[in-house]
């Protein structure tokens, strides 16, 4: 039970961090930020791998492997598509991209 309370504490603190961290997002970045956040929850792949790694029946393994494929699509596709969006963003503003690259 204390384990549960510890996780609840982490949850509540993470809610505030999540609110705070995006509070000043500029409106041009709404879509890339959504896409980046979307990629981050693809980390459910960790859960899918754990479940698939303990599967001891063929049926369970098949469902778990489907979850692994879906989660990987989310994770890898999410980060790649976000990078492409931001690539376009940089191309539209060459001076900002050049400054960014020089740092």
């Amino acid at each position: 039970m204390t384990e549960g309370v510890a996780l609840l504490t982490v949850f509540v603190l993470a809610v505030f961090v999540g609110f705070e961290v995006v509070s000043k997002v500029s409106s041009t970045l709404h879509t890339p930020l959504m896409s980046g956040a979307n990629a981050i929850h693809g980390v459910i792949l960790v859960g899918a791998v754990i479940v698939a790694g303990t599967a001891d029946e063929a049926g369970v393994l098949v469902v778990a492997l489907i979850a692994v494929v879906l989660a990987t699509l989310n994770l890898v596709g999410g980060f790649v598509v976000t990078d492409r969006m931001l690539e376009m963003f940089g191309a539209r503003r060459p001076e900002a991209a050049a400054k960014d690259g020089a740092e």
Partner: protein
């Protein structure tokens, strides 16, 4: 419980996710932020393979390779104008994965012959009586399965199954709308709000029932009701409002992943999912605000004829 070094790596990954969201909030740091997030995810997955006792390794790596190639190719090849629907699709499959993970975790005690007596009390070793027959499991495995059937964990399981299913079907419908495989206009029908309300009530009732019994069958029915709720949620939303609903469903998937982290006792999933759930909520409000609309008017506006026809 996994090794301490692995948990420390999970903390590093969680920090990477926070820095990624922070970086993505500003034009100058956005691209770097995304890379930091990708690094955190890679670290988390590699650590999971090493720290946990993973069977079926070949199959899992094959599935990861399949998903990675498919995801990367889809993301590379998609036309710029089609990116929002691709994000919707990726969001949906993430929600689906979360729901499947929770269902599989729930099925574990049942397959070992451990059941929960109906009710919401967790007193005592309610599951100990059939433990004698559940041969082949170590004591810590059995304790873990008993814990999976505790009221708190079952609540998180039901939440993940329901919200993951809503996100999966809702995102699929938004994908179909944006891809113009179905009309982008709001779809309403007489009594729509009443049907939607009834489905929500049914979902909550089924969820409570599933928690009280720990039944896998009820959890699967709950997932099906969630799929229906997701479709009904998104059908009345049209045109320019669809991206805002994708953002909302993105926050939903985040919360489903967070609850999945509670079920698996995995702090990284809990933190990552919660970060996305919280920041996604703020982002949804900001997006709606930028269009001069409110989230409730988008979700329920079509019933009053207020949604954009696109």
């Amino acid at each position: 419980m996994i090794a301490v070094w692995a948990q420390v790596c999970y903390v590093v990954a969680a920090v990477c996710f926070i820095l990624a969201l922070k970086g993505l909030s500003s034009p100058k740091t956005a691209r770097r932020g995304n890379l930091v997030g990708a690094f955190g995810a890679l670290l988390a997955v590699v650590v999971t393979f090493i720290a946990y006792d993973i069977d079926n390794l070949g199959w899992i790596l094959l599935a990861v390779a399949f998903g990675a190639v498919g995801g990367a190719m889809g993301a590379r090849r998609v036309a710029m104008t089609a990116m929002p629907q691709l994000v919707a699709l990726f969001n949906g499959v993430g929600g689906g994965a979360a729901a499947l993970v929770a269902l599989l975790e729930l099925s574990e005690p049942a397959r070992a012959g451990i059941t929960r007596p109906a009710g919401f009390g967790d007193d005592g070793w309610f599951a100990y009586s059939p433990l004698a027959e559940s041969g082949g499991h170590t004591e810590s495995e059995i304790l873990r399965m008993v814990d999976l059937l505790s009221t708190g964990t079952l609540t998180a399981t039901a939440f993940t199954v329901l919200i993951g299913a809503v996100s999966f079907s809702g995102s699929t419908v938004t994908f179909l709308k944006l891809q113009e495989l179905m009309t982008g206009r709001p779809i309403t029908f007489p009594g729509g709000p009443i049907v939607f309300g009834a489905v929500l009530v049914a979902a909550v009732g089924l969820g409570l029932w599933a928690v009280a019994t720990g039944s896998v069958t009820l959890a699967i029915i709950l997932a099906l009701v969630g799929l229906l709720a997701g479709v009904l949620l998104v059908l009345p939303v049209g045109g320019a409002d669809v991206p805002i609903v994708i953002s909302l469903l993105n926050a939903f998937t985040g919360l489903a992943v967070a609850a999945g982290g509670y079920v698996l006792e995995n702090a990284l999933l809990l933190v990552a999912g919660t970060l996305v759930g919280a920041s996604g909520t703020i982002l949804t409000r900001a997006m709606a605000h930028a269009m001069g609309r409110s989230v409730s008017s988008i979700l329920f506006g079509a019933f009053k004829g207020g949604s954009t026809a696109g």
